[in-house]
Amino acid sequence: MTDKMKPVDVVVVGSGVVGSIMAMELVSAGLKVLCLERGRMIDPQQDFVMPYVHDELKYDRHSDIFQNLSRETLTFRNNASQTALPMRELGSFKPGEMVGGTGAHWGCNARRFLPHDFELRSRVDERYGKRFFPEDCTSQDWGVSFDEVEPYYDQFEHIYGVGGKAGNLNGEIQPGGNPHEGPRSREYPNPPTRRTPQGEIFARAVTELGYTPFQGPAAAMTRDYTNLYKVMLGECQRGGFCSSHVCSQGAKANPLTAVLPALYRKDNFELRPLCNVIKVNTDSTGKKATGVTYIDARGREVEQPAELVVLATYCFNNTRLLLLSGIGTPYDPHSGRGVVGRNYSYQTGGRVHVFFDDREFNPFIGGGMVNTSIDDLNGDVIDRSDLGFVGGAYVAVQAFGSTPIKNKPVPAGTPRWGAQWKKAVAHYYRRSFAISIHGSCQSYRQNYLDLDPTYKDANGLPLLRMTFDWHENEKKMLAFMYERVTEIARAMKPAKYAAHQIYKNYTIVPYQSTHNMGGAVMGADPATSVVNKYLQSWDVPNLFVVGGSAFPHNAAQGPTETIGMLACWAADGIKENYLKRPGPLV
């Protein structure tokens, strides 16, 4: 039996980066908004206190803030000839399950995409010819331009208190910033991070090689800050235990610190935790959403009617809920037709470690994504004619607060354990750091999401199935980046350096990044996208599907700044256009 609840104007599913901002914006427009979250309620002041948050074991591996796979996971295979098997333990990525979502334990790296990224397909075609993209690549334009969304990047930065230095103010290149960024309408709300000694060594080396270093933008406060929603955030103490942890100081902007406190003050907002949404309901025409069905903490099936439904459940469940609800045509990799599940992409990465015998650092000091970066190898800055790959990377030295279980690099050739290993970690823990490569990932015909035919979640519903592997283009791109970064490493004159290997196949272990993209992509053409440029479903106009699920391919920068921007942009589309004339906005 299904219980039926009182109707609301809007139901937002998920309380992460997207859900919290969408809820706040729509509540401010006077709508009655209900947010349904599968995870538990959080009181940051009780749940995340000193010294207990400075616990690497818990927050790297065992915390209950991560998705509980015993109830729901996904299955994975590298290609369609294999049988997908469940991801039984967290590995490659670490989605959150609590009020605040994955956003609560993110790493604060807050970069805008480049103008190039939004129009990748047409710009590359124009510059290098139509045959430049690999044949199977399905990366496509987003249907919006950078200039259109710039004000919403600005809005997000003023919600998340991003600290940085403008590199391009209204078209004028600024010293100290990233000269390759798109023109921004004003400065960052907060100053950039200070540079670490490691960052200084990097900056000197890259300057020598002709690149332009800058302090990469980050969403951990560089000073006490009151944000757009009148919420106070304190200055970051650089105590490490940051990415993958929740900040006890409220210095890391995230749904719990930057948005939800403002929402809790609103009478027309309700948050219902421990409600797992299993379906978006539609009327008999299939063209109008009537609300959602969820399973509550006591196991009851509940129907929640709403005028407007927003899915903000991260890349995976945004896609899965569409498939479970029968909204949109599922993607078929054989014919290339259909859209739901199409263009799943990820993030490429790599590291070159440098080891010094004559210098010691303080690798545990950091966090809040203190970093010194270059963007000269990203976007369309370098001519790709002879390189033969699409995409790029930014390169950075980050001070993330090296914790000892995971961060003990050793030179190549060191045994994996035993006395020699012990000597090497003791010597190099404080005498090394990583230069990291953070790269783009194109979408391909063979990489997609659909429903698994065998494995089910705790409610008996099919798990999402991921079919994904690295393609030649990304391997070529990474090989090129490793060459450049090895040059940078050498310019630092370390005693030794060691480049990691490029993975032959994608593997679901170990941790790489929680930057999962696509499955419900945005675009200008309903034949190749699930949502229009306003993140509105082509099939069901009172349904908005917002998040990384909308990225038609992934750029080099971390996704969250763009995900938050899309939430601001979609909310504005609803407020300014949809509410005035409910119906398709395109």
Partner: protein, 221 residues
Amino acid sequence: MAETAVPYAYGYLSPQEVRFLDAAVERLIPTDELGPGARDAGVSCYIDRQLCGMWGTHGRNYRSGPWREGTPEQGFQSRLTPQEIYRIGIQEINRYCRGKYDKYFEFLSPAQQDEVLHGLEQGAVDLVSLSGKLFFTLLWRNTEEGFFADPMYGGNRDKIGWKLLGFPGVASGAYREHLGNPEVYRAEPVSILDIRLGHAQVDAQGFAKHVRIIERDGSKQ
């Protein structure tokens, strides 16, 4: 005489299993001139406590069938829980050692123990019920955790692992000011356990008050 390295009442592991683990983890991170190894750091105790908790039964893992071996890219696919992997693994490794060396693992010479561990790691020593590699991977993962995690979990006794690296543990409120400073920051490590037991002080924000170790004449402490 205490039968195991660390005085502690084991909740899951049997005395023989503890002796096996004490011997094995001591080869993985041995005692040497740099300081005590994993045995004296209490890694077996750490493993025991992990096995007693949620992780010991993979309580947060997806555990429905069908079970298949899968490719390495597909990650952990064993139907056995960590409790079972340790219990069955230790028994079968000891059986292997009896067959090959006529002794239990704990009584082998260090060189023989290394031989067995390398064999497990590289897949040369395979077990009946599970892959030797799987056992080794888990053992090494837990050894590193037990040596470097906060002592509140039963390992890293006396903060042996942190002293080895120069990791100060719970952060100090002084870090922010030190971020851009190239001067080497050394401090006696502070653990969550220390703070809990009142062995270390905290500031108003809850950060640890570190006792700095001052270096003289550039010579290391």
